[in-house]
């Protein structure tokens, strides 16, 4: 029995994915001009058929990825294309994009919203024209490689009740920020840079893990309780106040049976959104709205996946721009090894040093894990702080 052609073997495997209730990518790919042989080859050999290729577009240095198969027979090129903020498309705009994909590409798009960018396969020979065509539509080629990579938002005030700040406007502000614009044209960073904008602590854009800078809407104090509406909901049996109190991870909620009032201790509240989720709109986020700036989230990078750390609480999204610019400049111009993310840079520098660099004082409640080591280095101001406080107590006791 002779060896079978791996493409045939692969095609046979791929046919399996055309069946079944879940939407099939193979069915979709077959409707386009995508080179199925390359995919089939990969499936048969259980190794990807693709290797790095090359493409040149005049005066465009980022935003497209070129591939070729290992045997060099098939090439593939795709563009990352900026999406409108909130990833809402009117059908007019969508049709323009689809016409573009048909005319310049393979008639294939990848519309994952994760990056704030849409991926469109383009034919190599018309790539240069395609950039101009995209700009005529009103959008542009996005980013690849070591540069500003993505600015993604949740749906925010466009369609969500929980949005605590205007995430769409924030993304537009950063997308057109002169510094970011400057960085975006070239690949000058050690590694990629991402920013995400989430309107509330539900964090639909995953700003707390998947972005170097994440802006998450929060509020100060307790959520706002409309007692009348809440009692109405309780009367209807939609909400159980004891369950609300029990499910609060911060233990901030108590239910007063006599007064029929739900009391929330703002100092304890961890903004978990548990009560708001269950009793909205009777319980709403508080009025004193702020934005939490998180720094150093990443999936890739030298020291593995990391959660972002809170850096500061600000009032407007413009205030965070200063942190972003200072951090990126230090990261870019320091001795950062290639392929180190901002989190790796901060990890090497030390978070305290990093805060000093930004001129940010630690804020908020004291850490939950207090110091175990008595030795401490304090500056003059800090020593004075403790001295003054001690003298005040001495006076109080009349010693």
């Amino acid at each position: 029995m002779g060896e079978r052609d791996p493409v045939d073997v692969g095609m046979e495997i791929l046919r399996y994915y055309e069946e079944g209730p879940w939407p099939s990518h193979v069915k979709e790919l077959k409707k386009t001009r995508y080179p199925m042989e390359a995919y089939a080859m990969g499936m048969a050999q259980r190794k990807t058929a693709w290797a790095a290729g090359s493409a040149k577009i005049r005066y465009v240095y980022t935003g497209f990825i070129s591939r070729r198969t290992r045997d060099g027979k098939i090439t593939e090129l795709h563009f990352r294309v900026w999406q409108p903020s909130g990833q809402i498309y009117t059908t007019d705009f969508l049709r323009k994009i689809l016409d573009f994909a048909d005319k310049y590409g393979l008639g294939l798009i990848e519309i994952a919203g994760q990056q704030g960018q849409m991926i469109i396969s383009v034919r190599n020979e018309v790539a240069d024209e395609a950039v101009d065509a995209l700009r005529a539509i009103g959008t542009d080629i996005g980013a690849t490689g070591d540069t500003i990579r993505e600015l993604a938002t949740c749906v925010g005030p466009a369609l969500c009740e929980f949005a605590l700040y205007d995430t769409l406007a924030a993304r537009d502000y950063y997308l057109t920020h002169p510094k970011i614009y400057e960085w975006m044209s070239n690949q000058l960073f050690p590694f990629k840079f991402k920013m995400k904008f989430s309107g509330c602590p539900f964090d639909c854009t995953r700003a707390s893990h998947r972005s170097d800078f994440g802006l998450v809407g929060i509020w100060e104090g307790a959520p706002e309780v409309d007692h009348e509406a809440l009692n109405e909901k309780i009367g209807k049996g939609e909400v159980d106040p004891r369950e609300l109190a029990g499910s609060c991870p911060s233990g901030a909620i108590t239910w007063d049976e006599k007064e029929r009032r739900l009391n929330i201790d703002g100092a304890k509240c961890k903004k978990s959104m548990e009560c708001i989720r269950k009793a909205f709109p009777a319980i709403k986020p508080g009025r004193n709205r702020k934005i939490a700036v998180l720094v150093g989230g990443k999936v890739k990078g030298r020291f593995g996946p990391m959660m972002a750390k809170p850096l500061a609480i600000v009032n407007t999204y413009e205030e965070a721009a200063d942190f972003v610019v200072k951090t990126v400049e230090a990261w870019m111009e320091g001795n950062t090894p290639h392929k180190d993310r901002i989190a790796d840079f901060i990890f090497r520098t030390g978070f305290t040093k990093y805060l000093e660099m930004l001129n940010v004082r630690p804020q908020g409640k004291p850490a939950n894990h207090p110091r175990l080591v008595a030795g401490a280095v304090l500056d003059d101001e800090e020593r004075r702080l403790y001295g003054d406080w001690a003298r005040k107590i001495v006076e109080q006791y009349g010693l």
Binding site: G20, P23, T48, G86, F93, S272, E274, V299, K300
Partner: protein, 381 residues
């Protein structure tokens, strides 16, 4: 479509951003921007948003094929449906789903019928499977070791009922499927993350390697720490070895943690398909609800990934879901349940064999790198 013109160099460097919200948002959304006050669920696939002006917008959530790949043909049909029944707009979600916006519940139901007729399921809100994210893998990626879109498809077929809400879960469930440890599907901060693994340290393809290294003469002169591939390795597993006047790049298998960073940057790192499998991580989440945001932990360090059915992977995922369904309280996400019952208990319930990988913690950095037990308390069963 307007004909493109050929601009000059300076002009060519200017970028065009889709930032004018006035231009890109549909009318009903623009009118009620920031004025939404209430919401209601209609089944598992339709949400009603109520504005303070009394206007309503209904959103219908539809699952997309793995890796959100759509032909222009199908997308055109979606646009037709959005025009015919909806308000002429769609939204792309972070989870690789698509949402149709409609003006009334009847219109939303009609969209649902049409889309379901095309073979796309509607659902994914409330205590259901919210969607499966997948990276590109063998479709275009040069790094992937397993094909995540096909794993996603095999999983989707198995878990279809959980998406449409025919069978419900204790709370929301989301799954990420990545082709390699670079984890482009979205990292591990999710209920169930499936990540492609070499299973063994990579092998170097000597014939390709020179493409990723400086020319031999330069290589002889520059210090080892300045060589890109040596720099990229986080554990120092890649080193230069000088044998006479020949310089070789060496991979020390004992130091390798299979993080994919070298393969991401150079195509010379090869693997044996027989060793390839996936790791299954559970109990991560991004939302601040319950126990708060956290990364998933490794439950199964390696299982074989065998196309086309991927039976091993789908069976384990179903097992995890069954354990969760049996032991969780109402509204409790996987991470919250694991936190309540304890990791050890959860491992026992799923019945995973415990190996050295359950104690080894690269990069956790809290105490030693390897631990026999996390603490004395955890050691006592």
């Amino acid at each position: 479509m307007t004909a493109p013109t050929k601009p000059a160099k300076a002009e060519r460097l200017n970028k065009v951003f889709p930032v004018d919200l006035d231009k890109y948002l549909p009318e009903p959304v623009k009118r009620n921007y920031g004025r939404w006050v209430d919401r209601r669920f209609h089944g598992y696939g339709i949400i009603e948003h109520v504005s303070e002006t009394g206007e309503r917008v209904f959103t219908v959530k539809v699952a997309l094929p793995p890796n959100a790949r759509l032909s222009a043909d199908t997308a055109e049909k979606f646009a037709d449906i959005a025009d015919k029944h909806g308000i002429g707009a769609i939204r792309i979600t972070m989870a690789g789903n698509i949402e149709f916006l409609a003006g009334s519940l009847e219109a939303a139901q009609r969209i649902r019928e049409e889309v379901e007729g095309m073979g796309f399921p509607v659902g994914g809100w409330g205590p259901t499977l919210w969607g499966i994210n997948s990276c590109t893998a063998f479709l275009t990626c040069t790094t992937a070791v397993v094909d995540s879109p096909s794993i996603t498809k095999a999983l989707g077929d198995q878990l279809y009922e959980y998406f449409t809400g025919e069978k419900t879960l204790p709370a929301k469930l989301r799954i990420y499927v990545s082709g390699c440890p670079a984890m482009c599907a979205g990292g591990t901060g999710i209920d169930i993350a499936i990540v492609g693994q070499w299973g063994a340290p990579p092998k170097i393809r000597e014939e390709i390697l020179p493409m990723c290294l400086p020319p031999p003469k330069a290589l002889a002169r520059i210090p080892e720490s300045q060589v890109f591939l040596v720099q990229v390795c986080p554990t120092g597993a890649l080193t230069l070895r000088r044998e006479g006047d020949k310089i070789r790049l060496l991979l020390v298998p004992e130091k390798c943690i299979n993080c994919a960073r070298c393969k991401e940057n150079c195509d010379a790192f090869d693997y044996d398909p027989e060793n390839v499998g996936v790791a299954i991580l559970v109990g991560g989440k991004y939302s601040n609800t319950g126990v708060g945001r956290r990364l998933a932990r490794v439950l199964v360090p390696w299982v074989p990934a065998v196309p086309p059915h991927y039976r091993e992977i789908t069976a384990i995922v179903r097992r995890i879901i069954d354990v969760w369904r049996e032991h969780a309280r109402e509204g409790e996400r996987l991470a919250d349940m694991i936190d309540r019952i304890g990791w050890g208990t959860f491992v026992d319930l799923v019945g995973v064999p415990v190996s050295s990988m359950h104690y080894d913690r690269p990069f956790a950095g809290t105490r030693w790198k390897d631990e026999a037990y996390p603490s004395l308390r955890d050691a006592l069963r």
